[in-house]
């Protein structure tokens, strides 16, 4: 029953019949998987392959050379990675305490907290981006408030620059940090903390040497997820960056839509794809166990 399908050449009609009788269940299951796999081959793998092929226009690596050596574009690549790193660090700083809050409070607080995290998560990114524009603009609610109470004499530059992009991205990605960490924290055995306490460890030491290491898998999963999603971000930098913050996804879009520069856009896409998969595979290497964030 477990034999590979391809290992059994069905040479004769009788051979086919025997194979069918032995592997009917496997064959039916493959048949069930086939429509989705064919769909993904046609509308996923095929276009991606065609795009990658375009990056080697004329059998040369010129497009890659341009993407990886031209100062202007290298700057964009570095900026993208830096922004993704900032976003990951900020999300961790905000997300870890929130996850701990969800994992350590008594009902109904965890449920209330989860609603606060989930409601924005389910709201359209465009709605949230628009909300941030209302809040962060020169005449936005935050600046108005700070000017009115006399804390500022000039409005803070919060929108159409890196600040706006970071605030918007952290807002979108924070749930992706909170949930993996929360999932791990819920599985931490409280007896271990009690044991550390019983042995006289001070609170900070318990956190640093017992609790934090135990929750590290969740932290790494969250950071990786946020980093991967960050480097491909398009909507938030396009809308909140005011044209001043160019991330690689924005660059790819302009290359295709404005300049019809397919070869170069394809090479940039390949670079972005490689960076993404590298981080992803790195994570899977770290954890052999299943790290699905469902």
């Amino acid at each position: 029953m477990t034999a590979a399908v391809a290992d059994r050449p069905a040479a004769t009609a009788t051979g086919t019949a025997i194979w069918w009788r032995n592997n009917r269940a496997t064959a039916l299951l493959l048949l069930a998987a086939a429509p989705a796999l064919l769909f993904l081959l046609a509308f996923y793998l095929l276009p991606m392959m065609l795009l990658l092929a375009q990056s080697f226009e004329g059998g040369s690596l010129k497009a890659y050379e341009k993407a990886l050596t031209d100062g202007l574009y290298v700057r964009v690549l570095i900026d993208t990675m830096l922004i993704a790193a900032y976003v990951s660090v900020i999300c961790l700083a905000l997300g870890y305490p929130v996850a701990y809050f969800l994992a350590s409070t008594r009902p109904p607080w965890p449920t209330i907290g989860i609603i606060f995290v989930l409601l924005p998560f389910w709201t359209s990114i465009l709605v949230r981006t628009y909300g941030w524009m209302i809040l962060l603009g020169r005449n936005g609610i935050i600046n108005r408030f700070l000017l009115d109470i006399g804390l500022l004499s000039d409005p803070l530059p919060l929108l159409n620059n890196l600040n706006g992009v970071l605030i918007g991205m952290v807002h979108v990605l924070l749930p992706y940090m909170v949930f993996p960490i929360y999932a791990v924290m819920r599985r931490v055995d409280p007896a271990l903390i009690a044991a550390a306490e019983g042995l006289g460890a001070p609170g900070w030491q318990i956190f640093r040497r017992v609790y934090f290491p135990l929750t590290l898998p969740g932290v790494l999963a969250g950071v990786t997820l946020v980093y991967i999603l960050s480097i491909g971000f398009f909507i938030t930098p396009a809308l909140l960056g005011g044209g001043k913050v160019i991330m690689i996804a924005v660059l790819i879009e302009t290359q295709v839509r404005q300049f019809l520069n397919w070869g170069f856009a394809a090479a940039l896409s390949a670079v972005l794809l490689a960076a993404t998969l590298l981080v992803y595979v790195g994570l899977r290497r770290l954890f052999r166990s299943d790290l699905q964030w469902s």
């Binding site: 929130v98 924005p120 709605v127 981006t129 628009y130 909300g131 609610i141």
Partner: protein, 272 residues
């Protein structure tokens, strides 16, 4: 354990706990703020972004309902999302059966392959499929957007339905078969009803992922805009509070669907 808990209770809540609560309250405020501010703006009587609004009116809701471009975009988005939901749920559920129940080599690779669209940046996929569909002259056709969105919805269905199938006790199905049901009959009448909460969640995920999706639709839609594309253009070009009204409607829609889904999901499951 009991002792330390008692000691902690006697000592009262430690100071750092208050710090934690205050910090988390601020983070929750940060998470909710951009959703909340949209509400007053949508009822503003002013065409400018003024806060607090100088007066109240329903004019932006009227403007939304009376503008055929907004309504067309909304209907198109609902159509695309509905078709994506049906297509991805059927394909994804079959795939989940094929992968979870399968005993053939390479099934883990199949699983990884089908989940790949979640990891690959949307912009990369968007220009890839744009290139292909431009050659096939499919740009501007709403069916094209459905195909692109289904690629991204299949992984959601696979994860959610696959998880339900992994924990499902196949003996129910075998019992039905020993009573004379065929395998397919048993799956249809016994297994699928029992994993209904997962199917409902999967359909919800597929629907929302399509309804909110901008980048694929931006490339494939051409001049036939979906709702997110119309919102994007509105944000880029002129900020007029119509989009605030649309935002409020969208938040309300998602909340209602979420409540309905949790109701269906909760009442339908077997004792678990």
């Amino acid at each position: 354990m009991e002792l330390t808990a008692a000691r902690r209770r006697a000592a009262g809540v430690p100071a750092w706990r208050f710090g934690l609560y205050a910090f988390c309250a601020l983070v929750f405020l940060f998470l909710m703020a951009p959703l909340v501010v949209v509400f007053p703006i949508s009822f503003s009587s002013s065409p400018y972004l003024q806060f607090p609004p100088p007066g109240w009116s329903l004019q932006w809701y009227v403007a939304y309902v009376e503008d055929t471009a907004w309504i067309d975009a909304t209907i198109r988005s609902l159509k695309v999302a509905a078709a994506t939901t049906v297509l991805s749920t059927v394909l994804g559920t079959l795939l989940a059966f094929g992968i979870v129940r399968g005993r053939y080599p390479g099934k883990e690779a199949l699983n990884q392959f089908a989940l790949l669209p979640l990891i690959v940046p949307v912009i990369v996929y968007s220009i890839a499929v744009y290139g292909l569909f431009a050659q096939a002259r499919l740009i501007g056709n709403w069916h094209a957007i459905v195909l692109g969105h289904t690629v991204h919805a299949i992984p959601f269905v696979l994860i959610v339905v696959g998880a339900a199938l992994r924990t499902y006790d196949e003996n129910y199905e075998l019992a039905a078969m020993s009573l004379g049901a065929s395998r397919l009959g048993a799956i249809w009448r016994i297994t699928l009803p029992q994993i209904r909460p997962a199917l409902v969640s999967a359909m919800f995920l597929a629907f929302i992922s399509s309804f909110d999706e901008l980048v694929v639709a931006m490339f494939l839609g051409g001049s036939n805009m979906t709702l997110p594309k119309k919102m994007f253009d509105n944000i880029v070009n002129a900020i007029d509070p119509t989009i605030a009204a649309v935002s409020v409607l969208q938040i309300v829609l998602v909340t209602v669907v979420l409540i309905v889904v949790s109701k269906i999901g909760a009442g339908a499951g077997p004792s678990r």
